[in-house]
Symmetry: C2
Subunit: 658 residues, 2 copies
C-alpha cells in the first residue's frame, strides 16, 4: 500500500500531465516544468501517524501532486488529486513569476548558443583551430529590475575538441549571448568586462593559444600516485532494514523520500521510540557572486528553486560514491512533454565507521570502555552546472543527527586580461578569474521533540557578576535562556557561546529537571554580503540570518519562497517570519542557514577539493543518560585490524638506540 | 643512527637520572618528575635538515635532555648533554614554582585518601554497607593565592565494591581531604557545598542509598544492540612507509615523535617536496570550571603542564581504537626513582577513508571525475583522570592538515542536595552535578611555508562601498589584508569571515600572483570566561584569544609557560607576545586556541559521546592547481562495494505502485 509520504510515482506524474493536457483548451500545448507530490496536510498526517503507531485503521489521505507548466509565455501552477483523478486548482501566475529551469530547455539553448548565426559570427572572429571547440554554460538570468521574459545568460568557453571531458572552465570567452528560454529567441549579445572595471570590454579578437587546465585523468598530464585498496567489508550484511521508504537502524526509524526540488526529505524521525523531527530537508540554496560588474552582478543561483536538487541529482555508482553495502533510491521528474523521467540512484543509504563514539580508561585498573561510532548516511549529490554539492544526513547511535555538506566541482570562471588581478576574485588559471561568492543553504527543520508542541530557545553562557559572597574569585559562569515566542530570527552570538535549542516545555527531564531538548550546533558565520537594497539580498532574506523561526503552515517549505527564478523579492521567510503569531509551545519550524563565503583558492581549480560544513542536532537532556550505552564494545574480534608489517620498517631493529 | 628529532631513549633517561643522582650530594635522594629530550636548537637543525635533503654529511648535534626533580621540597630543573654525558645546567627553581604531577605520587595519595585516620573517621560516619567502597580522584590544587606547598585536593566518591569498573563519578561525597603531594602529609579537610551557594555545607551523615549510574557493560543494565561488523581491509597492505620516526605517505613526509608532555609532535612536514611546517603539536590545554563556590573555584587543570599527554597516554589496542593496518609508536617517561617506564602504543598511525575528495559530473556527457579522500591519521588518546582526549592530526592528498580533537570520558562531578539545581551546572544524575567548564587547547604551529621566512596575515571579506560606476547594484565584496608585524594576538571576526594565513612573501604564486600561503581555518569561539583579575585568567592568557603570533625562540614551546602547576601567572604567551620584535618575513610561531565551552548534557553521563572540534590548515595559492589530480579515480574494481540485498526489503516488488 502506498504511504502518504511515498514519493511521486510514474503513474501519478503521467496522470497529472494528462489531466493538464486535457484541460488546456487553447492552441498551445502545456510545456511542463515540474511535477511532484505535495506534502499531505500535517493535521491529517499526525492522525495517520498516530493510527500507524497504535495499529489502528489508517485514515485515507488523498495523494495530491503539484504541477508547474507554461502555456506559451504564461506560467501556471495546478494541484491535482491523483487519488481520485481531478484537478483541484489551476492558476495563472502573476506576471513576472517564473518557474524553474528544466533540462530540455537548457539543452536546446546550449545548442543554440553555438549554432545561432549571430553567435557563430562572433565565434568566427576567434579564428579557432580545429582542435578547439566552443562550449556554453547557460545561466539563470537573476534579476536587476523588472524583466518579464524568462531569460538565459549563456557564458561561453573554449575546450579541447578532441576530448568530451575537456575543462572548458579554463578558457572563458568575452562574449555572452542572451536567449529567451521558452521561445528560444536571441535577445542580445553581452560583452564581458575582463579588466578592473566594467569599462574594460574588448572586441572579439582572434584567439591566441594559452594552456588548458584540465582535470580529467586522460588530459591532466599527471602521473597517478600509487595507492593501495582500503576495502569496507560487511560480511554479515548491513545493520539497517528497509521497508519501502522506511528505514530502521540502531534505534532510529524514519522515511527517506526523494523529490525533485530538495533531493530528498526525511520524515517522521524517531529515536528509541520517541519522536524527534517531523520533516527535515535542505530547502533552498542561493549562490550570489561578489563581482560587481555587469552582467556578473546578476549571477545569483537558487539551486533548488531555479533548478532542483533531485532534478540535477547524480546517479550514484556502486563503489564510487560510497563504500560498503549500499541501498539506492531513485528520483522521478517530468520532462517538458509531460512524461515521467527516471533518475536512478540519486539517493544512497549506507553505514560508515565514524571513529570512536566514547572511551574511558580507568587509570587505576587500565580497563577501557570503548565504543566505535557507527553512522548511517543518507546522501545525495547534485550537479548544478559547474558545481557539485553533497548533502549527507548522518545519524549516530547516541541520538545525534549531523547535516554534513560538501561543496566540490568546478568554479564558475570568467575571462581576465593578461596580468590583471581584481579585488573580488582569485586568478585560478592563466587569464581565468573565479569571483568570490557565497553558498547559503537553508535547512528546514520541522521539529517534533517528544511531541508536536515545541518551543525554540537560545542559551548564552555569560560571566557571573563579581560578588564577594557568591563569586569572590571571579571564575563563575552561568547560562541565560531566552524564549522565542514570536516568528523571526535569532542573532548570532559566538562570544556568548549562543546555542539554539528546540525544547518541549511539557516534558521535564527527570534528571536535569529541565524541559527535554534537542540542541542545534552550528558555528558563527558571515551571512549574505550583498547590500540590503540589492536584489540579491531582497530575494534571499533567509541568507541574512543564521536561524529563523516561523509558525508551521502547510506548503511553507522553501526558505526563499516557492518561485525564485528571476524573483524580485523573497516570498518565503521574508514574509512568514513577519507574521505576529505565537510560536511558543506551539508548532514552530526552524530554518537554519548554513552559509560560507567562498574565496577561491588556486587549489580549487580545475576541480575543487571538498569544503565541508556541518550542522549538528544533538539530544540535550532528552534522555536520562547517554543513550548509546547499548552499543557493543569495540574489539579486535569484531573489527579485525592488522599490525603494520614491521619488517618493511627499515630500522625497526635499532629503534631507540642511543 | 639516531636522528636529532628521535624521541628520548631508555638509555638517555637512565643516564640523565644517574647523573642527577650522582650530583645530589645532600641527604635527600632526587624525586624525579619528568625527563625528556630537549628540542635541538632550530638554527642547528635547519643546517642538519638542509644537509639531509642534499645528501651532504650531517652535522653532529648533541642530544640534550631536560629533567625535573625535587630534592625534599625544593624543585629543580637540569639540562643534560646525553651525547657526552654531562650536566649542562642544574637550577633550583624559585619558591612557588612546582613541577607536574607524576603517577607514583598520585597513586600514593589516592591510597592515603582512604586510609588516613582522619579520612577514615569521616568515612565511618557514612555507615556504608559492605558492597559500597570509597574512591578518591586526586586533583591538582590550582591557585587562589600564594601557596608554597605542592598540594593535592582529593575529591571523594562511592562506588560498587564488587566491581572494579563501577562508576564512582555517579556518587560524589561531600568531604574532600587535602594532602601535601611530596611529604604526603594531611593538610586539612574541606567540606563541599552541595546547595545553591558556598554556605550550603552539611555534616557527614549516614549514606542513604540512591542509584549508581554505571557505564561498564557488566553493570549498566543495558541490552546490547545487535550490530553487524564493518571491517576495513587493506589486502595489499598500507600505502605508507615507516623509517624510524619518518613517515612517507601520498607525497607527505614528516617525523612523528612521541613525548611525555605533548603526546607527540610532528616535525619537518613536507608535501610534494615543499616544506610546510617545522613543528606541530598540541602544546597546552587548560580546563577551568565555572562553579564559583570554594574549593571548586580552584578547579583548573593544565592537562599538559600539570600532567602530560604522553605520560597519561592510553596504550592503544589493535582493533579497538582504529581500523585497518596500524603502526604504533611508544612513549617513555621517568618514574620517581629515575627509571625509564615504557608506555607502549601511545601513538597510532593509519589510513582511513574520508569520503569524497572531489567530484565533477559533466552533465552534457554524464561522465564523472571522482576521487575519494584517503586520509593519514596520527592519533593519541590521553586519560587525564576522568576525561579522555583524542588528538588526531589528519593529512589528506590535497595538502590539507586537519587537527581533529574529540573530548570524551567522564564528567568531573560534585555532590548536590536533593532537588537542588544550580545555574553553573547540569544535574547529570540523581544528586550529581556536572559544572560548566571550558576546554581550551593550544596548538603550536611553527610554520615553514616554502621556507622559514614567513609572515602571518589575516584577511577580511567586506562589502564594497556603493558606487554608481563600480558597484551600482551593491552586490560587490572584496578581501582586505592585514599584516601582523609585531607579536600579539589577532581578534576574532566571524562576520567579516576573517581568516588567518601564513604566507611567504618571498615566493609569489605564478597563477594567483600573490604570495604562497597556508590558511588556518577555525570557527569563531567563545574564549576564556574567567574574569581578567582571576587567577584562572592570569595563568592562561593563551586561552583569552584564538590566535597568537610570537617570534621563534628556542625552548618557547608551551602556551602557558613551562611550569603551570599551581602557577600564579602565565609565563608563556602572556610574556612572549609582549616583546616588541619584528615577526614579518621572519620566523613567526603561530598559536591557535581551539576552545569550547562545555555545558554538560545529561547524555554526557555516565560516559560522554565524543564532542569533536577542528582546525584545518589548507594550502591557499601554495600550488598552481589542485595538487590531488594525481589521485586514482574511485572505482568499484578498487573499492568493492555491494548492493543492499533487495530481497530483505519487504515490499521491494511493489515500489512506487499507485
Amino acid at each position: 500500500m502506498v504511504h502518504p509520504f511515498d514519493p511521486v510515482s510514474d503513474k501519478e506524474i503521467q496522470l497529472t500531465s494528462q489531466l493538464i493536457k486535457d484541460a488546456a483548451k487553447g492552441p498551445e500545448k502545456p510545456h511542463f516544468i515540474q511535477i511532484d507530490r505535495l506534502d499531505p496536510p500535517k493535521k491529517d498526517m499526525l492522525k495517520y501517524l498516530e493510527a500507524e503507531k497504535s495499529g489502528k485503521s489508517l485514515p485515507r489521505i488523498p495523494r495530491v501532486t503539484y504541477v508547474y507548466y507554461y502555456l506559451g509565455l504564461q506560467f501556471y501552477k495546478a494541484l491535482v488529486n491523483v487519488t481520485y483523478g481531478h484537478i483541484i486548482t489551476n492558476q495563472k501566475q502573476p506576471k513576472g513569476v517564473q518557474g524553474p529551469l528544466i533540462a530540455e530547455d537548457i539543452e536546446e539553448i546550449e545548442k543554440l548558443a553555438t549554432s545561432h548565426p549571430i553567435v557563430k559570427a562572433e565565434i568566427a572572429k576567434l579564428k579557432l583551430p580545429s582542435y578547439v571547440k566552443v562550449v556554453c554554460d547557460p545561466w539563470m538570468n537573476g534579476t536587476d529590475g523588472v524583466e518579464d521574459r524568462l531569460l538565459i545568460q549563456c557564458y561561453m568557453y573554449l575546450a579541447n575538441a578532441h576530448h568530451s571531458e575537456s575543462n572548458h572552465y579554463s578558457l572563458p570567452l568575452k562574449f555572452s549571448p542572451v536567449f529567451e528560454c521558452l521561445t528560444k529567441e536571441f535577445v542580445r549579445m553581452d560583452y564581458l568586462p575582463s579588466g578592473v572595471d566594467e569599462a574594460c570590454i574588448n572586441d572579439t579578437e582572434p584567439w591566441t593559444e594559452f594552456p588548458f587546465v584540465e582535470y580529467h585523468p586522460d588530459l591532466n598530464g599527471e602521473t597517478i600516485k600509487p595507492l593501495k585498496p582500503l576495502i569496507v567489508q560487511q560480511p554479515e550484511g548491513p545493520s539497517f532494514e528497509v521497508d519501502g521508504q522506511k528505514i530502521e537502524w540502531q534505534g532510529w526509524e524514519f522515511r527517506v523520500v526523494p523529490n525533485c526540488r530538495e533531493g530528498f526529505a526525511i520524515y517522521d524521525i524517531h529515536f528509541k521510540g520517541r519522536s524527534v523531527i517531523y520533516r527535515l530537508s535542505l530547502c533552498e540554496m542561493t549562490v550570489p557572486y561578489g563581482d560587481p560588474r555587469a552582467p556578473f552582478h546578476r549571477k545569483q543561483a537558487f539551486d533548488l528553486g531555479d533548478a532542483g536538487f533531485g532534478a540535477t541529482g547524480n546517479s550514484l555508482a556502486l563503489g564510487c560514491d560510497c563504500l560498503g553495502v549500499i541501498k539506492y533510491m531513485d528520483c522521478r521528474r517530468v520532462n517538458t512533454a509531460g512524461e515521467s523521467v527516471l533518475i536512478p540512484n540519486t539517493v544512497c543509504l549506507h553505514e560508515q565507521d565514524g571513529g570512536l563514539l566514547y572511551k574511558h580508561t580507568n587509570y587505576r585498573t587500565g580497563v577501557p570502555v570503548i565504543a566505535r561510532r557507527r553512522e548511517f548516511v543518507v546522501q545525495t549529490i547534485a550537479t548544478v552546472a559547474n558545481y557539485e554539492y553533497m548533502v549527507n544526513i548522518i545519524f549516530d547511535q547516541a541520538g545525534e543527527i549531523r547535516i554534513h555538506v560538501r561543496a566540490t566541482g568546478i568554479l564558475s570562471t570568467m575571462p581576465l586580461d593578461r596580468d590583471v588581478t581584481v579585488p573580488w576574485g582569485t586568478n585560478v588559471g592563466p587569464r581565468v578569474l573565479a569571483s568570490y561568492h557565497q553558498h547559503m543553504l537553508s535547512f528546514r527543520i520541522d521539529p517534533a521533540v517528544d511531541g508536536y508542541e515545541n518551543t525554540v530557545v537560545f542559551d548564552d553562557v555569560v560571566r557571573m557578576k563579581k560578588d564577594p559572597k557568591l563569586n569572590p574569585y571571579n571564575v563563575g559562569f552561568v547560562t541565560e535562556r531566552t524564549v522565542v515566542d514570536k516568528p523571526g530570527y535569532v542573532e548570532q552570538s559566538p562570544f556568548t557561546n549562543r546555542s539554539y535549542k528546540i525544547i518541549n516545555e511539557n516534558k521535564i527531564n527527570p534528571i536535569s529537571k529541565k524541559p527535554v531538548a534537542y540542541k542545534i550546533m552550528m558555528p558563527a558565520r558571515q551571512m549574505l554580503l550583498a547590500g540590503e537594497e540589492s536584489y540579491n539580498n531582497k530575494r534571499a532574506q533567509f541568507a541574512t540570518q543564521q536561524l529563523w523561526v516561523t509558525k508551521y503552515q502547510d506548503n511553507e517549505l522553501y526558505a526563499a519562497g516557492e518561485f525564485t527564478n528571476q524573483s524580485q523579492t523573497d516570498t518565503g521567510l521574508g514574509v512568514w517570519a513577519k507574521r505576529r503569531e505565537n510560536v511558543r509551545n506551539d508548532d514552530p519550524v526552524v530554518w537554519a542557514t548554513l552559509g560560507f563565503t567562498h574565496v577561491p583558492r588556486v587549489e580549487d581549480f580545475p576541480v575543487m577539493p571538498v569544503e565541508a560544513h556541518e550542522i549538528s542536532l544533538v539530544p540535550f537532556g532528552f534522555f536520562d543518560k547517554n543513550p548509546a550505552l547499548d552499543v557493543p564494545q569495540s574489539s579486535q574480534s569484531f573489527n579485525k585490524s592488522q599490525y603494520f608489517p614491521e619488517s618493511s620498517s627499515k630500522d625497526s631493529c635499532c629503534k631507540s638506540s642511543l
